[in-house]
């Protein structure tokens, strides 16, 4: 009976169920059901977080079968933080989406079922305890995400979806190859069983597997130079979809990189590999920011900003690899904090951008005049989200930057300090490019219409959460520490 009340399986079952039901019920009732169900999922994650803080990491054997025959679900601090992020982003976005699709109905029928499957895949991925299960959830996640990109139809989104699909399939193919090599070497795919085996003896096949899996994940996370698929996919989809993808989907693969790097393949990591990841991250920050600055379309600017912000996530690897434990802990905390802060802020930013586009009727930074006067709350949300992305205090982005900077200075790797500072200033440049336009009066011939209140307030809630994270980050770090992942 206590098994029945365990939040872990419900976090996967619920979104699957409401996703399917929403398909039957249609967008109106389906949307309402989705919002209620995501709220329930949020409560379940909070319950789970409480359990973890009280009693440490938890394992759930699905259907009572358990590994090696059945499937284990594992929740430690890192998984719980990501689950928390997923539900915290999904709930305001679901409320936003109802308003958004009322104004722009293209694709509303498929949005709710796809989102349900997307959340199911995400939650399952965070809770997976073996490599093959992760493969399945990765594929589910990819398919749901690609479907969401294409829901509005039109040549550009379908092209972007196809390009995204091919990239994501290639990425999961590499992962599957890695799984095959690992199984061939060790005869298991369970993370718990493999970790000591890899530590004891790592044949060439295991190193090759690690490289393949890492490459697949980098492709799916859109780390420079694998970012080519991201801007058109994230920039071309309807705003709630862009927000979900940028905030959550790429974080899922980042989560896997982090987990493998810190746990399974920790014995194989080298300083050179970590520096390489850091260099790719730095290149992503600079290149992504520069391209964001060059955009003329608002959503493309936000999408390139994601390319840049992904780079910050990967700075944690050189700062956490083969350095004193203090600095490593600070770096991992900073990286996870950045993932959470960026998730909230980027969702807010895409949501605010979507509202501006609905209000002005076009996706053009040059025609944003009047937004400041007519949609002050939306512009304010965009600004707050920008503050987080720039890493200005007080915000989650700042806390992340603080922790990463601290690790960089403690380990004497000052070059990453320079990258982070330069990235922050470039971010300011493209954020203010939007803000200053929006402050201007309406250009003659343009019109700014009002948008539903739910659009304004849901974006604001996300942006505010990103700011508050900067003031109340300590509990999140306490949760992260559960299970020794950090």
């Amino acid at each position: 009976m206590t098994d029945f009340l365990d939040p872990l399986p419900w976090l996967i079952m619920l979104p699957l169920a409401w996703g399917t039901l929403a398909f039957v019920l249609g967008p109106g009732r389906g949307g309402r059901l989705a919002i209620a169900a995501i709220a329930l999922q949020g409560l379940l994650v909070l319950q789970l977080a409480g359990q973890l803080l009280a009693g440490g990491a938890r394992v759930h054997a699905v259907g009572g079968w358990g590994a090696p025959l059945g499937i284990d679900l594992l929740a430690d601090g890192l998984a719980a933080v990501m689950l928390l992020l997923a539900q915290a982003v999904a709930l305001p976005l679901a409320i936003y989406a109802r308003g958004y699709f009322a104004a722009q109905p293209k694709g509303r029928e498929l949005f709710w079922p796809m989102t349900g499957y997307l959340l199911a895949a995400l939650n399952a991925l965070f809770l997976s305890a073996d490599l093959f299960n992760i493969y399945v959830t990765l594929e589910l996640l990819g398919l749901a995400a690609v479907g969401l990109v294409a829901i509005a139809g039109g040549q550009a989104p379908v092209t972007a979806a196809l390009r995204y699909l091919l990239a994501t399939l290639l990425g999961s193919g590499a992962w599957l190859l890695g799984v095959a090599l690992i199984y061939g070497s060790y005869g298991s795919v369970s993370l718990a069983i493999l970790a000591p085996l890899v530590g004891a003896d790592a044949p060439l096949a295991a190193t090759l597997a690690a490289a393949l899996m890492l490459a697949g994940l980098l492709l799916k996370t859109a780390l420079f130079p694998f970012h080519f698929w991201l801007p058109p996919a994230h920039g071309g989809a309807p705003a709630p979809v862009s927000a979900l993808l940028s905030a959550l989907v790429i974080k899922a693969t980042f989560y896997l990189v982090l987990r493998l790097w810190l746990e399974l393949f920790a014995p194989l990591t080298t300083v050179a590999a970590a520096q390489l990841l850091g260099i790719l991250g730095a290149a992503a920050i600079l290149w992504g920011s520069a391209l964001a600055l060059a955009q003329t379309r608002l959503k493309m600017l936000v999408a390139y900003s994601t390319v840049a912000q992904v780079g910050y996530l990967f700075l944690l690897f050189p700062l956490a690899t083969l350095v004193p434990p203090d600095a490593a802990e600070s770096a991992v905390q900073g990286g996870v904090m950045q993932a959470v802060a960026h998730g909230l802020a980027k969702a807010a930013m895409f949501a605010a951008a979507g509202s501006m586009i609905v209000a002005t009727g076009r996706d053009d930074i040059g025609r944003l005049g009047g937004v400041g006067a007519h949609l002050p709350l939306t512009l304010f949300s965009f600004g707050l989200a920008g503050v987080t992305l720039m890493g200005l205090p007080p915000s989650g982005g700042f806390s992340a930057k603080w922790l990463l900077l601290r690790a960089a200075l403690e380990t004497g790797q000052w070059w990453w300090v320079a990258v982070m500072i330069a990235g922050g200033l470039l971010t300011a440049a493209y954020v203010f490019k939007v803000l200053r336009r929006a402050f201007l009066p309406v250009a003659s011939g343009d019109r700014v219409t009002r948008v539903p209140r739910t659009l304004e307030f849901s974006a604001f809630a996300l942006a505010l959460a990103a700011i508050l994270l900067g003031l109340f980050g300590a509990p999140l770090l306490a949760l992260l520490a559960v299970g020794g992942a950090a």
């Binding site: 603080w402 200033l425 009066p441 770090l477």
Partner: protein
Amino acid sequence: MIDTWLPVGVVLSSFLPGLFIFFLAESRIRLRTALNLIGALAKLALIGVMLWGVLNDHEYVFRHTVLPGLDLVLKADALALLFVTLSAVLWLFTTLYAIGYLEGAPHRSRFFGFFSLCVTATVGVAMAGNLFTFFVFYELLTLATYPLVVHRGTEQAMRAGHVYLGYTLGGGALLLVGTVWLYGLAGQADFVHGGSLAALPPETAGQLQVVFLLLIAGVGVKAALVPLHGWLPLAMVAPAPVSALLHAVAVVKAGAFGIVRIVYEVYGVEFAQSLDLLTPLAIAAAVTIIWGSLRALFQDDLKKRLAYSTVSQVSYIALGVALFGPLGTIGGLVHLVHQGIMKITLFFCAGNYAETLGIHKISEMDGAGRRMPWTSLAFTLGAFGMIGVPPLAGFVSKWYLGLGALEAGMPWVLAVLAASSLLNAAYFLPVLHRIWFRPAPSAWPAEHIPQRGRWETAPLLLLPPLATAAAILLVGLFAASAFSPLDWAKLIADREYLQWTP
């Protein structure tokens, strides 16, 4: 309980009205004005309570843990209250002035919203209890002032805003690196009397010198130390109340105040002296003083001349800090207050000339004294104060700075002070000559506000500069009495020099 929440109350007393004002419709003038004034008066009342407490050796500290090992601390000590009181009093005057200045202008809700946020950030800077908290509010100040600088939305304002952001965000980045580095070295950077870094092992001295450079460069941008001053003259395109705020109440003061905190309460003035950090700072300040005055000489735009004058005058504060010894400290600290009162008067007056008669350039000011005698009187007091004519405020500052220079064994500083006073006279006296002794032209450039009975301009524009001009005279005349800025500065200086005996 009350002791913890009073500092928070001071911050919230402008933050909450500010948030509320953002969402007010443009037409709710009365409610907006009421919110502004209630906020300003509530802040003054709270500060009054704390002033009383600090005199009686009370401590007001609020502490909130943001991350493990990283606290947000608001603390009201004597030094904090010096700056908080200055900001809160001048904010009240500036708010009144802005209400008059912006009558009928568009986007007033946005303006007053950011105006309140700006003061919120300033009192936060003033009451920051450690370097991290200081940094938080310092960056908030940048974000809150940007919309004010670009408020007019003209091409020129946008460009000035761009430059302003570039400088201040860059400075913020340097400050951040320095702060993180210091936290890494020392574990914390709380502001305590006499500083806390002297206890660090001697092999960190080299790193501490680099950190000092980063920190001072970071706050030096807002304090407009040459060569980091480029944004200030450009930012004068902002409306006059904003200029008053930038130059007297908030931004440059936050920078100068940062220098005070870093030298006295992070490093400790004695430790800073032992690391050979003070002399370079004094030289930078001296160069800024002379350079700003020289540039001011050649400006025909009145606000631009005042802006360069600020560049020069604010560095008196840095100079006083860099003069090792209590007298220099007193001179620097008291100038923090005196410069604020004098410069805000001058900017109010410049705003009055522009709003009433359309005068923007010094060459247009001939005979303005006859049309606007009260404004011109206030302007004259401000200018004389800047030159350092006794018994006005500026004289008191310069007197103590001079004494401090002798005490610190840096007689060359006296030459800098003398040269600067001469230059001040050289760029202010011609203006006064035009105002009072030249005949008025047949028509003013653009007379927006006609003479109405005795009122040479709108009452809300005239009364604030008259009040602050009176203050210039009073703080000078009564400098020796209790509760004067000088008296308070002496109290602070007493606490910063721990082992030093003259």
